[in-house]
Each structure stands twice: as C-alpha cells, then as structure tokens.
C-alpha cells in the first residue's frame, strides 16, 4: 500500500484489530468497545478504534478508507447504512482485509462475518413477550425506534410485525412507529407525541437504548407513569431508576461488551485462517467459549437478557 511504510509505527499490518462503530461517545458503544479492547489484549493484538462523531450514513466511509490505506487486515464495523459502506469495504477486501460487521450488518456480500448479539427473531419475540406479560394481548401499541434507516432496528421491527401477525395471542393494534433518531431530546418528544396522539395507547416498545431511556424519563415525569407499559432494549445502569420508581417493569438487552469481545476473537480466527466465514466453521472465543458460524456468515453472541426489579442489581455492571 504505497510508500512511507518504512517510517510507519506499529499500526497497520497483520496484528491490528480496527473497530469502526456507528459513532463514538455513546455509552452502548463504549461498552461494546471495552469488550473488544480486552479481547485484543488477551490476543496480543493492537487495538484501534476510529469513528465519526455523528452516526451519519456516509461519515464512516473515510474511516474505512483510512484503514484500507493503513493496510489493516481486520476491520470490524457497525454500518450506519448497510449499502453506503459497501464500496469502501470492497476496496478493503481487495486489499486483503477481513471484514466483520458487528451490532448492525451491511449487505451480506460486503463482509465475511456478522456478529449479532441475539437472533433477530429472539429479540423481537422477547420484547413482545414482555409486553404481553404486562398488558395482555389487546389494545393500542406503538414503537419508538432509532433512525428511520437503522438496519438492526428495522430488522427487529419487521420481525415483531411478522410475529404479531402470526401469533394468535397478539391482537394488538400497532398504531404507529416513530423515530427518535437515537437523540435524547428527539426521542423524548416523540414519546410525548405518541401519548398525546393516541389516548388509548397501552404500551410502547422501544428497541433502542436511547429511545427507551428517553421514553422512560418522559413517562416518569408525566401522568402516564405506571399506566402505559414500556418495554424494549435498555442499559441496566441507565434504566435502574425507572424500575425502582415503577415506570418500567421489565426490559431486555444483552451484554454489549460480549459483542465486542466475540468480534475480536472472530477477527483473529478469520485472519489466522481458522475460519473462512463458511457455515459450520467453529472458533474459540476466550471466556465466552466456542462459537459456530451460521448461515450467511452469522454468529450469534447469546441470549436476550431480561431485567426486572429482582435481578437488576446483578446486571447493573452493564453500564459505566
């Protein structure tokens, strides 16, 4: 990759694990990356992270290009847009890099592996079950998501819709899907708008940590506290107060640091040839044990964790 390698430091080359999350400075992502970092240390790899400050669709591309030029061999990325990153990822693969997507996926042909927290269907079903436990199978419900084009959120929402349509217990009326753009203020106001526009709303599903926290904050400060159920994916450390004050009864997530951890190990396995990304390949992932690559290069980290007032103290390490 061009001139200048002589004067280079230790970056690039075969032992660098480069992580490009959606953006930096977001608690969930910090948590993910902390797992990645400790795994890299265990493996003796150089850990590098780089990402834009905003989660714009195109803003990750220059970072991928930089990795291409640096000759990095393992690039892990959570695309903000499944397609926009593809040309850059193609360049990287042409240059011999292994590409892993984690947290959110790109188009399947642009990467070698996708490390997903939990199977899409399980995430969707888990949240619906929690809602069913609280409000039963009837009434108006709504979804408050992240950005309109967020790939993982959209996948979960699709799966939820399919499940509602197919499961006879679920006779809910899904009145609206709104987007808080993973922005605290915006999510807050979207939550408020939902309650105002749909007076009979019984439950809200917010499959994003920013959205569920903002919605919980709004509910806890309004007359709807305890009357409207809220489920979704939330950070235990952040949501604890709402479990305590009764705004929220139960929510779900996984351990984000495990996602980063597993991604790092998968990267090593790819680069040392243990796996190619084909279905059925297996690899060791340190403290997490052995994993098998599924169809379409998909690797699942684990199960959905459900948090409630009883078990929250066990899990509130999942924060900072």
């Amino acid at each position: 990759s061009g001139a200048g390698t002589a004067s280079g430091g230790g970056d690039g080359g075969d032992t660098t694990l480069s992580f490009i999350p959606k953006n930096l400075n977001n608690p969930y992502i910090t948590l993910e990356l902390s797992g990645a970092k400790s795994a890299a240390e265990e493996l003796g790899f150089t850990y590098a992270e780089a990402a834009p400050l905003d989660a714009g669709a195109d803003s990750q591309i220059p970072f991928i290009q930089t990795e291409v030029q640096n000759g990095t061999k393992i690039i892990a990325v959570s695309p903000n847009d499944p397609d926009a990153v593809c040309p850059a990822l193609e360049d990287a693969r042409t240059g011999g890099a292994k590409i892993i997507t984690f947290d959110s996926d790109s188009a399947a042909e642009c990467r070698d592996l996708f490390i997903n927290q939990v199977a899409v269907e399980d995430v969707a079903k888990g949240q619906l079950e929690q809602l069913y436990d609280q409000i039963g199978g009837t009434g108006d419900i709504a979804i408050l998501s992240a950005t309109a084009a967020a790939p993982n959120q959209n996948a979960w929402i699709e799966a939820m819709k399919a499940e509602i349509a197919s499961n006879p217990d679920y006779e809910w009326n899904l009145v609206a899907t709104v987007y808080g753009d993973d922005d605290d203020t915006k999510s807050f106001q979207e939550a408020q708008g939902l309650l105002q526009s749909y007076p009979n709303l019984k439950g809200i599903i917010s499959p994003t940590t920013v959205g569920i926290a903002a919605t919980a904050r709004y509910l806890s400060t309004s007359e709807y506290k305890g009357k409207v159920a809220l489920v979704g994916l939330g950070l235990p450390g952040q949501m604890k107060e709402y479990l305590t004050d009764g705004t929220v009864k139960e929510f779900a997530l996984w351990d984000p640091s495990e996602v980063g951890y597993l991604t790092a190990y998968a990267g090593k396995a790819l680069v040392d040839g243990t796996i190619t990304g084909a279905e059925g390949d297996t690899f060791e992932a340190g403290k997490l044990g052995t994993y098998t690559v599924g169809a379409n290069g998909l690797v699942l980290v684990g199960e959905l964790l459900k948090f409630n007032a009883e078990n929250i103290d066990q899990y509130d390490y999942i924060t900072f």
């Binding site: 990759s1 061009g2 001139a3 200048g4 390698t5 004067s7 280079g8 430091g9 970056d11 690039g12 930096l24 590098a48 780089a50 990402a51 834009p52 400050l53 905003d54 714009g56 669709a57 195109d58 591309i61 220059p62 970072f63 290009q65 930089t66 291409v68 030029q69 640096n70 000759g71 847009d81 499944p82 397609d83 926009a84 593809c86 040309p87 188009a107 950005t147 309109a148 084009a149 959209n154 987007y179």
Partner: protein
C-alpha cells in the same frame, strides 16, 4: 485645467505598486496556497503512507462534494449573501436519482432529473431572496429544513445503494488517471474551478458581484441588476448541488440524511479561504485552497488515527486563526507604522509653560 497642488502625501516605499507575480505571492491567497503546500509536504514527510496514490484518490474524491459546492458558495458569499440549504439540496438530488432509478428510469434520465431538482430548489431560494427581498440567512435556514424534509417525504426510511446504478457510472466515479491515483473526475472538477475563477475574476458579471457585495445600492446605480444577479447565483448553487447529489448517490447511497452537515463544512472552508462573510472580498483560489487545507488536515489526522474530536477542534481553531490572525497582523502593522511616523515627523515644539494655563473654564 488648473494645476492643483496635490493634497495626498505619500510615503513612497509603501505605496510602491507591486505588480503581477510578486503581488500574487504576497497576497493572502498566495500565502495560503503556500500554507497548503507546506501542509502537504509535512504530511508526506511525517505521516506514514500519506505520500501515496491511494491518498490522492481518496482525498480528492472525498473533497469533491465540498469543493464543487464551495464554488457557487464563494460567489454567493462575495455578494454578501449565504446559502445554508446546500446540503439539503444535495440530499434531494440524491434521493431523486435513487428513487427514480429504482422506479425503473434509465440512469441518465434519473440523473438529469436530479440535477433539475437541484436547479428548481436553487430557483426557489433565488426567488425568495432576490425577488421577494428576504434575508438569505433566514430563507436558507427555512429551506434547509424544507428541502431535507422533502427528501424525507420522497424516500422515507428507505435507502438506495450505489449498486443500483449502472456499472459504467460507478466505474467512472472510481476511475483513476493511470498510476497517479488522481480520479478521472478531478479533470471535470478542475474545469469547473477554472470556469468559476474566470467568471468571478475576469468577466463583467464577476466584477459586478464584488460591487454588489460591498454596496447593493451603489451597484444598482451602475446598472447592475442586483436581483437578477442573486437569482442566477442561487440557481447556479442549486445546479452544483444537483450534480453533487448524483455524485453522492454513485459514491455512497441515497438516503434522506445524505450530506447532512455539509453546509457548515463548505462555509467553514470558504471562510477559511479568506472570503469575507460581509461580502465584497474573496477569490476562487482562496476558497478552493480552503477546502483542500481542511481535506488534507483531515486525511492526515485520520491516517494517524487521531480522533475526530481533535479534528473538530483543529477545524474550529483554523477558522478562528484565519480571521483573527490577519486582523492582529494589521493592528501590529498599524501601530508600528504610527510609531515610525511619529519618529520621522518633526515633533511639534513642546508647548511651553505659558501655553498650559491652570485656569479651568466652566
């Protein structure tokens, strides 16, 4: 005619008129270009792998949207106006080309439609600013929201990937000039830069822009049709944004949030390039250099894996230094000059004691 005595005193060595090349080299633009070259040199020497054709390719392609929009933006700012809606127009254009292509339009037709959309958006700005006479800052804050909103209306939560377009188009965007790494498209961009530079600096139209920037009323009195000039500029801006939108769709993807925030990047670069926000002063060379300085600094810092936080701070600091610097420089020069004058001019005879009466008038 009578030979009137001259009333202007000149200190000759300072009014000596500098000509041609030496003037350019000593001008702000000249210095700024030198700064750019120095930056490139430093980056080549100290940033590993910077000196490579890969850099030229990525760097130039990444800078292209800002560069193309900076051209009409420079003209607009020189007339004392501003266009904050550029990024939203790019998004509309991107979304248009994406949606129409997926709807089965041939790519060429979709791209043309996208450019027309940009043109119309520019015309909307132009009508409101030039003919209705509204302040451009306010209008384009409004259309910033409106155009982005319309993009959202058209494409909603979908996105159209670059792979939906014909391979020929995609290849053209990626094509490089031999081993230099310079994108083929750079030729077109260079041509655009040259055209804008000529229009601004060497045509009657461009001359008029400076006059409009300094004083709209005085410009009117020399027969410049100020509203029409402004309208043309906004349409031009819309047109460029339309073109950039097509480029954007081909390089990245078409989404409602494409190019968001690009307006501030472009304006920052143009201002960094010495174009006066008050109008009347600036050059295409300066603006282009401004875009490239930011592009080079960004690229070099990212190669070094210096976090974007630093980059943001550096961009802001550059912007401030670029405007505060000259003004401090001028102040220092002024005070030096005053001191020199005080030394060269004969001191007036000290007013003697008889001239300093102690009595006060009430």
């Amino acid at each position: 005619m009578t030979s009137a005595p001259t009333a202007t005193f000149t200190i000759t060595e300072e009014t000596r008129v500098r000509t041609g090349l030496s003037r350019l080299l000593l001008s702000r633009d000249g210095l700024f270009v030198a700064v750019l070259l120095l930056l490139v040199l430093v980056a080549c020497l100290f940033v590993p792998r910077f000196a490579s054709p890969v850099t030229t390719g990525y760097l130039l392609l990444n800078a292209m949207p800002a560069l193309l929009i900076a051209l009409p933006m420079t003209l607009i700012i020189i007339t004392g106006e501003i266009d904050l809606s550029v990024a939203s127009i790019v998004a509309m254009s991107t979304v248009t080309v994406g949606t129409l292509t997926t709807a089965g339009w041939p790519f060429g037709a979709a791209a043309a439609a996208a450019i027309v959309v940009g043109l119309i958006a520019g015309a909307v700005n132009g009508v409101l600013i030039a003919f209705v006479g509204l302040p451009s800052l306010a209008v384009t804050i409004g259309t910033l929201a409106l155009f982005r909103g319309l993009a959202l209306v058209v494409i909603g939560d979908r996105s159209v990937s670059a792979s939906s377009y014909p391979d020929a188009a995609i290849e053209l965007v990626g094509a490089k000039l031999g081993g230099t790494g310079i994108p083929v498209l750079a030729i077109a961009v260079a041509a655009a830069v040259a055209i804008f530079a000529i229009v601004l600096h060497a045509t009657p139209f461009g001359r008029g822009l400076f006059a409009v920037g300094y004083s709209k009323e005085a410009a009117r009195f020399v027969g410049i049709r100020v509203p029409r000039v402004k309208f043309v500029l906004y349409v031009l801006s819309g047109l460029m944004c339309g073109v950039v939108g097509v480029f954007w769709a081909l390089s990245y993807s078409a989404r409602s949030d494409s190019a968001s925030g690009l307006e501030l990047t472009v304006i920052a670069a143009v201002l960094l390039g010495g174009v006066s926000i008050f109008g009347g002063r600036g050059s295409i060379l300066g603006a282009v250099t401004g875009v490239l300085v930011i592009a080079v600094v960004t690229y070099a810092m990212r190669l070094q894996r210096i976090p974007d936080v630093t980059l943001v701070i550096v961009t802001g600091a550059l912007l401030i230094v670029s405007v505060v610097g000259p003004s401090i420089f001028a102040a220092v020069r002024r005070s030096l000059h005053v001191r020199r004058v005080q030394r060269t001019l004969p001191r007036p005879a000290r007013a003697g004691a008889e001239n300093a009466p102690h009595r006060r008038l009430t």
